[in-house]
Subunit: 319 residues, 2 copies
């Protein structure tokens, strides 16, 4: 399969500035560029390589692709003007002041597009820029950065996206979904991305947590161990209960559906495990901390989420 | 402080065969020898060293001590006759058939003395030798094997011991307590060592578990982290509840007493952490598995004990 290079049928070529060009950012940036968008990237650790050589992507679906950003930056500041889309694919870490970082580049034409993990990660940015449209997205994709400027795309790739704060799908969202579809990314618009984030947490919390805490296991190894599989189900039940209490009731079969999907998956090492093994900071706050804050507001206690949070936080600090 | 070399006032010099001469076994063996007992040892990995050079102990309390066993064996079989005391200090691991190992050396004069971790570890051996007196003991001691035939004694050292099955203190137990006291070991007789094992589990379960699962922390590091300290308290509460359900009600302040004692302790790396770091098998079954079996019999569920068991078991297998 090869790139389509026909631009999408939009009134003008959209400009995109990608903030945080790791595996996820680089992958979607390349797809948007392939769909005709003018894509610039901000990257820190791989700046020199990407500025010189661009990004090479080995994809199970798209084959080997080469992506030359329109411009490459170490900080958003050096991007000229303001983009149509500010695509934020930074990890969610408490010490990153995202609002301050992107403030200079948010113009009247700019839409914020977050492709990030975790729950309740939008509010701070929304508070900082209440008049800037925000689209929040969940990526279901297995990508990893194998060396500077090189990304492996192993499986999946679809996006679920919605307005933040949640509202029925507006034309601006439909248009963005079309742009991704043109880029051969299976994108879906959702009326309530906040609920969708809770739904994704049903999988993310148990498998990210157990993969690290059990000493470095992939999904197959977890599923094949009866007590660990039960532990995953128990963590899922806590997330489902908390989600419902927070006003996001999920389908009755959400646990079974998630377990069956995991059973069918290729053995997969979670993002938290990959971060841990590479000595990178894990998204403990975005995945567990924020959920527990909500639990505390609701006066509820969840033993597994609490122990995973305490243990993973300690492991992260130990690095 | 130096050894007392006066034999105790007993009718004859007691013979002791130590099975499993690691740090704990070597330490108490040396103390009994210092008190005048005729102590032989069974050891596997350190056999050559101990047969040639004996065991050297660096003790915070007794100074540097040298212990020459009366005889050194690779298997109990080669010990001539049957000992007065079979002192069992092997780790409690499911694959060790202790009864088969010690059967040939149990005579009509033999008392079994278990100095081991965990709960419900006596019954199998008692079933195998229902007519052999058994004394079950808990060691509160920090010792570690620094190299073959070398042991560091860092703190504590006292023993709590009782008949198994539990019964009021009999003269045979009083006599053994006296022998240890003569060896300058602060030994206490208890009417109910089974309850004492549950009491020790209140500390053992949380601190052994968290020390490994949080990435390798000592007691000080755990106490200084609020969420980890709370997790320890939560695990303790589960153990206290399970102990009560199993008929071993503990004192109301048992959690507070344990936390305060840990607060006052020197930073300490648990035995499970030392085993894990040295690539040795951890006593997951003796400490968590047996407790959960009892919980299951009682139809009760304990989230933290369950998750610790599942995660530590997986970590152990991963080695």
């Amino acid at each position: 399969m090869t790139d389509s290079t026909t631009p999408p049928q939009t009134p003008h070529t959209p400009t995109v500035l990608v903030v945080g060009t790791g595996a996820v950012g680089g992958f979607y940036a390349a797809r948007l560029a392939a769909a005709g968008a003018q894509v610039s990237v901000v990257c820190r650790s791989d700046y020199a390589t990407i500025a010189q050589q661009g990004i090479t992507i080995h994809s199970f679906k798209f084959g080997e692709q080469h992506f030359h950003p329109y411009s490459v930056h170490e900080q958003p500041e050096t991007f000229p003007g303001t983009p149509d889309y500010m695509l934020i694919t930074l990890k969610v870490l408490p010490q990153i002041d995202l609002a301050a970082m992107v403030a200079p580049k948010i113009g009247p034409n700019t839409t914020l597009l977050l492709i990030q993990n975790g729950i309740e990660i939008e509010e701070k940015l929304h508070q900082a820029f209440p008049n800037t449209p925000m689209i929040s997205a969940l990526a279901f994709v297995c990508v990893s950065r194998t060396q500077p400027g090189h990304i492996d795309h192993l499986c999946f790739g679809h996006l679920s996206m919605g307005h933040y704060p949640p509202q029925p799908v507006q034309p601006a969202l439909t248009q963005l979904v079309q742009l991704f579809k043109h880029a051969q990314i299976d994108a879906h618009a959702t009326d309530n991305v906040v609920t969708a984030r809770w739904r994704k947490l049903v999988w993310n919390a148990p498998f990210n947590g157990v993969s690290v805490l059990a000493g470095g296991l992939n999904t197959r190894e977890i599923m094949d161990d009866a007590p660990l599989q039960q532990l995953c189900r128990d963590v899922m039940a806590e997330v489902v209960d908390l989600a419902a209490a927070a006003g996001h009731a999920l389908a009755d079969d959400v646990i079974e559906v998630n377990m069956q999907a995991t059973e069918r998956m290729q053995p997969y090492r979670t993002s938290m495990l990959l971060d841990h093994e590479a000595g990178r900071e894990m998204e403990v706050e975005a995945i567990f901390g924020n959920a527990l804050q909500r639990a505390q507001q609701l006066g509820r206690s969840y033993p597994h989420l609490q122990s995973f949070y305490a243990l993973l936080r300690a492991i992260g600090r130990k690095r």
